[in-house]
């Protein structure tokens, strides 16, 4: 039986998170949703996902701190895609310097996110 690709999504906007959950689950991914950075770190530690999607601006811990924690503390080389809004270009650069793999500027097309996830996870064996 195939193992689905697991994703941790850290997004504090519940409607947007639900939309992405619905979309990505339809695509066959297994999704764990965190409403803030702190929850995201817990989920990443517990589930060791194949890819992490994180918004930059979140309560408690930001996406930058999540990225830093994953790379520095957990020493995981899991792909990390950060979501940024307009005007957060500096933060995106900082995210890249902390080890983010890719970024998507909000608003974005969920279909494009699926393509990026496929690109990042293409080498992961799913069984």
């Amino acid at each position: 039986m195939n193992r689905p690709i697991t994703i941790v999504l850290a997004e504090d906007n519940p409607v947007f998170a639900s939309l992405l959950k619905f979309k990505l689950e339809k695509e066959g991914y297994e999704l764990y949703i965190a409403a803030n950075g702190q929850m995201a770190i817990e989920l990443i530690r517990n589930y060791e996902p194949d890819i992490v999607l994180t918004d930059i601006m979140m309560p408690f811990l930001s996406g930058l701190e999540v990225t830093s924690y994953v790379r520095q503390t957990l020493k995981m080389d899991v792909p990390i895609i950060v979501f940024s809004a307009a005007g957060q270009e500096k933060m995106v650069l900082e995210a890249f310097s902390l080890g983010a793999t890719d970024f998507m500027g909000k608003p974005f097309n969920p279909n494009e996110l699926v393509i990026r996830i496929k690109k990042e996870t293409i080498a992961i064996p799913v069984f």
Binding site: N13, V15, F16, S18, L19, F22, K23, F108
Partner: protein, 363 residues
């Protein structure tokens, strides 16, 4: 028995004390009622909040299912119809409609592509634009603004005619909301209201307008000459910002004319925009009018002339080294130092051999 003795005690009191006792009793009763009322109110608010959360999670799911279901082969048309009818039924209740609209706006802000078009279509199909338009007919200005803002968020172009009626509304807040609607929905093309705008556009409103048109990708910046010549100073100020941000070199002549504008703020801004665009022709005009200007404007002129510095400016800056204003003296000395370096470079004299006196003697 106790009541009787209390009454007797009360009867023995002086009139002033009696009045105080009566006031105390009345206040105690009012406080007790307020306490009960607040408890009920708090309970209702909590109930509303819970209902809101409950409905929101249901509607979020239904809307997402509906939006993504169209492209999903597992979801039949019949299921789609059922979801739509359910949502449609909920729009008649204001409380539920507000939740539906907030979900759609939330999605609208975060997504692009075909899904965005679907969100807009669902908003229209559910008749929510009709409810937003109804708000425009409300007597209260905040409700009108809510209606305009909702239609702005949903980028609804069809209602433009109805919203245009409010462009000259007596309330400046409504005017501002209409301006933002036009800029958000139509981009640069929506800025035509500037042609005959009578009211002032605040600095904050200008920033918001600039932010709104920033998203109008692929649109050509219109000819803004008319706005630069406007009698409305705030329109001129906004046009200057556009000139600077979009590097509109075509309006060079209009910018030079603005150096004679009646308002100092516009003249200073025009000077800095000319410097930003590197329009050399303005230099002699600036130097000529220097003495007639206030210190704050003189500083801007000195900085702009410094940017176009050449040996012809030697006399100008030499004269300013004795100016009464420190900042002008400082800028002038710095300009002279730059000139010195230019002369050294031109004459190929090793720098250590060149003396400042040599430069000043060049004149």
């Amino acid at each position: 028995m106790i009541v009787k003795s209390l009454y007797e005690l009360f009867a023995q009191l002086s009139p002033l004390l009696r009045l105080m006792v009566i006031i105390t009793i009345i206040l105690a009763i009012v406080v007790a009622f307020l306490n009960i009322y607040l408890r009920i109110l708090r309970g209702q608010l909590r109930q509303n909040e819970q209902n809101q959360l409950k409905f929101k999670s249901v509607y979020d799911e239904l809307i997402i299912q509906y939006l993504l279901g169209e492209s999903d082969p597992d979801t039949s048309n019949e299921e789609q119809k059922i979801i739509f009818n359910r949502l449609n039924g909920e729009t008649t209740v204001k409380f539920k409609r507000v939740i539906l609209v907030s979900t759609l706006i939330d999605l609208h802000r975060n997504i692009t592509g075909d899904l965005l078009d679907k969100v807009r279509k669902l908003y229209d199909d559910l008749g929510l634009s009709h409810y937003a338009l109804k708000k425009l007919k409300n007597w209260h200005w905040t409700t009108i603004i809510h209606g305009i803002n909702e239609l702005t968020e949903m980028q609804n172009r069809e209602v433009s005619g109805e919203i245009d009626d409010f462009i000259s509304h007596k309330r400046i807040e409504i005017q501002a909301a209409v301006q933002l609607y036009k800029a958000n929905v139509f981009g640069f093309a929506g800025l035509t209201f500037l042609n005959d705008l009578k009211g002032k556009i605040s600095e904050w409103q200008q920033i918001q307008l600039l932010e709104s048109i920033r998203h109008s990708e692929g649109q050509m910046v219109p000819d803004i000459t008319e706005w630069l010549h406007s009698n409305n100073s705030s329109v001129v100020s906004f046009a200057l910002k556009l000139t600077e941000i979009y590097n509109l070199l075509d309006v060079k002549d209009s910018l030079i004319l603005l150096l004679k504008h009646r308002e100092i703020g516009i003249r200073i801004k025009a000077t800095s925009v000319l410097a930003h665009l590197g329009i050399y022709e303005c230099k002699d005009i600036l130097k000529m009018c220097f003495d007639r200007r206030e210190v704050i404007e003189q500083v801007a002129i000195v900085r702009t002339v410094t940017q176009f510095l050449d040996l012809d400016d030697l006399t100008f800056f030499k004269r300013l080294t004795t100016h009464g204003e420190f900042i002008i003296r400082k800028e002038s000395i710095q300009a002279l130092e730059k000139l010195e370096r230019m002369v050294v470079a031109r004459n190929r004299i090793p720098k250590k051999q060149a003396k400042p006196d040599q430069i000043l003697q060049l004149e």
